[in-house]
Every structure is written in structure tokens, then in C-alpha cells.
Symmetry: C2
Subunit: 216 residues, 2 copies
DNA sequence: CAGAAATTTGACCAGTTGGAAAAAATGTTA
DNA sequence: TAACATTTTTTCCAACTGGTCAAATTTCTG
């Protein structure tokens, strides 16, 4: 019984150059399609065409549509949580929060497709990511909420709900990726250009910082 | 040549009782399915089953899948803009903004499916709603942004970017509908119950009001 | 370069999809 | 209740879907 040619078979034969290259191309193409149409709305043919190859050829590298989606989703979830992980309990509270917001907004600017992939998954009830949400994510947010709370107790930031604070940072920053069409349409030609992210950064800093300055 | 039975045919024969009832049932079922799977991900069979009828029977009331979606989207867009329309330039600035936020949050709570339908449309680049975005919506937001700006000039609210202020209200409130799974997962059993909307209301009021109090 | 391994292609398949057509059943009204 | 209009069901179809398979081609390695 010879080892099957399919690179995803058991015996983990080292990947060839072509395998690495093509898999990257496929994942990139799939990210385009999935982020735009969601899992069910995306077709293998679409992804294959975007990747510049035939459908059977694509399926030579990834055994199924679900497999591509899974890989995309897990690597994205990891990337997505990085900014929050970096929130440092030993740092200065206000600058820490400020740069968390900045990092999240940069993610929305630099990885809009990943943001939309995530949003699609959420809209569908997170069928593939619910375990991560209830496990890793819940844990991480719980930890950081405690950090925020300790800052509040020390009077370093205003007293507020740490969970909803995190939600509102997520919501406001990801909005610029997920609802990009709307943002552009409303701002129009004049203000909808690349400068919109800097405007958003300025605005959000103002919004959160003034709301969080310790009072009294 | 007799008038065709199909209720969508030209000669606008008055709708029967059954037509009104069934169309409502279909639209409700379609809202469930479209909001969960997006346009491409939804199937007529799914909608028909959710509506408790056969596919050809459903197609007797709506000529095509796209027709249902169009109708759903237009009536939703109208509902969706209502709260902003009500923002009254003659009212007291702070209470006006406060109740705008409250109304938007109530919409997220009471019409989560509509919110998700809208979000799906945005994620896909608004293929069916782009005209509304660039027309009615842009106009409306432009008007209200001017109202906000006049309030700023009168020193009634803090100086900030009125467009991004509106965006951030949209983002934070709709988040509780669109990312509901995530919100629940993170808050857990104890805090993820029905009370989460009141918590959110309190938090958002705090966030925006303190950020908007006139300084000086 | 020869042979082996890896890659690509074309033909194919069974299940699903949106939708059409006509017959059958049901409802409405004179 | 008979005639008519409306509604529902049954049957069907062509296009599309995710995926398989063997053959042909290309790339790698000794």
C-alpha cells in the first residue's frame, strides 16, 4: 500500500514548495469568497476560480470546502484575539486602553476580510466557533475584565461595566470593516477616502477617553 | 384572455384574506432564514418549510426568492432608519441623543432578525441596498450631522465628529443583535440573560453622555 | 536522462437548487 | 349548489453543487 499522493493523508510527508504556495493562494482566495458570501453562500468553484485553478485541483490540496473554512477560521480567531491578549495589567491603564483601541482599529483597517469572516460566523450563530467563544474567548475576556476592574478600584479609570466596555470597543472598531460599504456611502467621496480611519481613530479616542477619565 | 390567478400579475386585483395571511407567514419565515444564512445561503425549501407550506405553494405568493428578499429588505430599511428620523433638532440635545441611543438599542433587542438581515447585506457589499445607502441614508445622516454640529456650535454638546458619533451609536447598539452569540458566550449563564440589555443601556448611556458633556 | 512522485485535467456523478406547468382541491359567491 | 376563482399539490426540469476517479502531465531526484 503506497502512501497516497494527497498531501493531507496520514503519513505526514514533508510539504513541497508547490503545496505551500498553492495552499496559501487557496486560503487567500477562500478568504475573499467566504468573507463576502458566508460559508453556505460560497462555492468551491468560486474559490477555485479566484485561486486560478480548477475545482478538482483545489480539492487536491484541501479535501473539502469545510476544511478550508475551518483552517481559515481557526487561524483568524487567533489573530483576532491578539490585541486583547496584549492588554497589559502592569501597564498604565489609560495608555493601555488607548492602544488597545488603536490596535483593534488597525486590524479592521488591515484585515477587513478576516473581520467579515468572523462577522459572518457570528451572524449564523457561530456554528463552527461556539466552542472557542465559550472557552478561550470567555476566559480571556474574563481575565481582562478583572484587570479593568482592578484599575477601576484603584481609581485609575472611571467605574463602568468592563464587559460592555470591551464589547463597545469591539463594536466600534469592527464596524469600520464590517459595515465599510455603509461608512463609505454615508461619508461620500470627499470624506470616505483613506483618511476615514484616522478620523475614526481620533473620534474613538475622544469618545472612550473622555468617558473613562476618572471623575472626582 | 382571463386575468391570471397569480396575485402578482399586472391587473391589481384586491388581495384575498388568504393572500394577506400567507404572505405575512412567508415573510416572517423568510426573515428567519435570510437573517441566519444570508441571501445565497438561504434556500426556498428552507423558507417554505419554516412557513409550513410546499415550495411551489410559496412560489405562488412570491414569484422568486429574490422578490421575497427585496420586499423584506425595503420594509426593513424603512424601520431601521426610523429612530434617526425622530432625532429632533428642536429638542434638548442631550436627552435627544440619549433617547436615540435607547431607541436603537431597543430595536436591537426587539428586532434582532432585521438587524442581522441588514448586517448580512452590508457584509456582502450591499448589492441590493447600495442605492438606498447612497441616496436616502446619506441624505438623512447628512441632515442629522448638521443638527449635531449646530448643537456643538451652541455649546450644547461637546465638539466631536458627528458622522463618527452616529457610526459609533449604530455599531454599539447593533452589536447586541448581530453578535448576540458572542455576547451571551462571554457573559455566561449568570450575566447573559435578559438583563444584558439593561446593563448595555446603562453602560452606553454612561459612555456617550460622559463623552459628550460640554467641557469648559 | 529515466523513473518515481507530485500535480493537473477532464469526465463524471448523485444530490440539491430555483423554478415551471398542469392538474387537483378548495373556497367564494350568485 | 353550480359556476367560477383561488389555492395547493404533484410532477418535472435544467442548472448548479460538492466531490470522485483515472488518465495525462509536470516536477523532482538519483
Amino acid at each position: 500500500m503506497t502512501v497516497p499522493a494527497n498531501p493531507r493523508a496520514k503519513a505526514p510527508r514533508p510539504k513541497t514548495r508547490i503545496q505551500r504556495e498553492k495552499q496559501d493562494v487557496i486560503l487567500d482566495a477562500a478568504l475573499n469568497v467566504f468573507s463576502l458570501h458566508g460559508f453556505r453562500g460560497a462555492t468551491i468553484d468560486q474559490i477555485a476560480e479566484a485561486a486560478g485553478m480548477s475545482k478538482p485541483n483545489l480539492l487536491y490540496y484541501f479535501g473539502s470546502k469545510g476544511e478550508i473554512h475551518r483552517q481559515l477560521l481557526t487561524s483568524m480567531l487567533d489573530l483576532w484575539l491578539d490585541p486583547l491578549r496584549e492588554l497589559d495589567s502592569d501597564g498604565d491603564p489609560m495608555p493601555e486602553i488607548r492602544s488597545y483601541i488603536r490596535r483593534k482599529l488597525e486590524m479592521a483597517r488591515d484585515f477587513p476580510r478576516e473581520s467579515r469572516l468572523f462577522a459572518n460566523e457570528m451572524l449564523q450563530g457561530a456554528p463552527h466557533a461556539i466552542d472557542v467563544l465559550e472557552g478561550e474567548l470567555k476566559q480571556l475576556v474574563g481575565d481582562k475584565a478583572q484587570v479593568l476592574e482592578s484599575w477601576m478600584q484603584q481609581g485609575k479609570i472611571a467605574r463602568t461595566d468592563p464587559y460592555h466596555l470591551i464589547f463597545s470597543i469591539w463594536a466600534t472598531t469592527q464596524h469600520y470593516a464590517d459595515f465599510d460599504v455603509q461608512v463609505r456611502a454615508v461619508l461620500g467621496k470627499d470624506r470616505g477616502g483613506e483618511g476615514r480611519f484616522e478620523d475614526a481613530a481620533r473620534y474613538l479616542e475622544h469618545l472612550f477617553m473622555d468617558g473613562l477619565l476618572p471623575r472626582g
